[in-house]
């Protein structure tokens, strides 16, 4: 199985669940030039991130190449409980995608 590109940590306290996730991705804007060849490195970045709590979408994000390499995201929501499932998935502009699930602690 390919190595996952997503790390998720979700913890609940006083009814609010905080989700922190780190994704591995080059996030090329398409504006950078290769130092050796002088050619532009093609844009390759995550366009969409979807996060679900127990199969219900809690948050979606649309990004440009302006998000840093190996993107980090954190957000909060209510109504989660310890043991619930969080699923985070991303899709990039070249059609690749990955997803990962984790339990709220």
């Amino acid at each position: 199985m390919a190595k996952s590109t997503i790390k998720i940590r979700a913890s609940e306290k006083a009814g609010v669940t905080t989700v922190k996730a780190l994704m591995t991705h080059p996030m090329e804007t398409g504006g950078r030039k290769d130092a050796k060849t002088g050619e532009k490195i093609p844009a390759h970045f995550i366009e969409e991130v979807v996060c679900k709590h127990n199969d219900e979408i809690v948050l979606t994000a649309n990004w440009s190449g302006g998000v840093s390499k190996n993107p980090y995201i954190s957000f909060k929501f209510s109504g989660g409980a310890k043991g619930d499932t969080i699923e985070l998935s991303w899709t990039d502009n070249q059609g690749a995608s990955d997803s990962k699930t984790a339990q709220i602690k």
Partner: protein
């Protein structure tokens, strides 16, 4: 129940099932419907008002003290600038992060589900010293706040 009634119920059920199947297959019922498709026009706009217009339908925002932008005063490395946008505004539908001096100012847009809180944190690239603008859509209206960030080394490899 007569065979006739059973037949009708069976047919009705299978029709409904197949209708749902067709709809799902056609992508009508797929989760994609709730998601916002990647907005090409907004993410290719070179000017902030154009990006906001394409993304949110308007470039008029009301400055709000209820939006807090946490960002470093000086970003040592423009490639990785941690930004947090937090708001106490009610009914937050979306939060957008804009770097005014970037070649593509609209960096990210977060669509919040009904249970999500007005809080997003991420790391962005900043090409040079400029403002980070957070635009919050709350109750159908747009509000914004901004914070200046000094960038010592540009974040786009330049």
């Amino acid at each position: 129940m007569s065979t006739e009634m059973k037949r009708r119920i069976f047919l009705k059920r299978s029709l409904t099932a197949s209708a749902v199947g067709v709809a799902a297959g056609a992508g009508l019922l797929a989760p994609q419907q709730i998601l916002a498709a990647w907005n090409k026009a907004a993410f290719e706009a070179k000017e902030v008002p154009n990006a906001l217009n394409a993304l949110l339908g308007s470039s008029t925002t009301e400055p709000s003290e209820a939006i807090k932008i946490k960002a470093p005063d000086i970003a040592e490395n423009g490639a990785v600038v941690p930004i947090t946008v937090e708001t106490t505004l009610p009914e937050v539908e979306s939060i957008a992060i804009i770097a005014s001096e970037n070649p593509v100012p609209l960096v990210a847009n977060f669509n919040l589900g009904k249970n999500a809180e007005g809080f997003v944190s991420t790391r962005i690239k900043m090409g040079k010293t400029g403002d980070v603008i957070g635009v919050v859509k709350s109750g159908g209206k747009l509000f914004s706040a901004s914070k200046g960030v000094k960038v010592t080394i540009g974040g786009c490899g330049g």
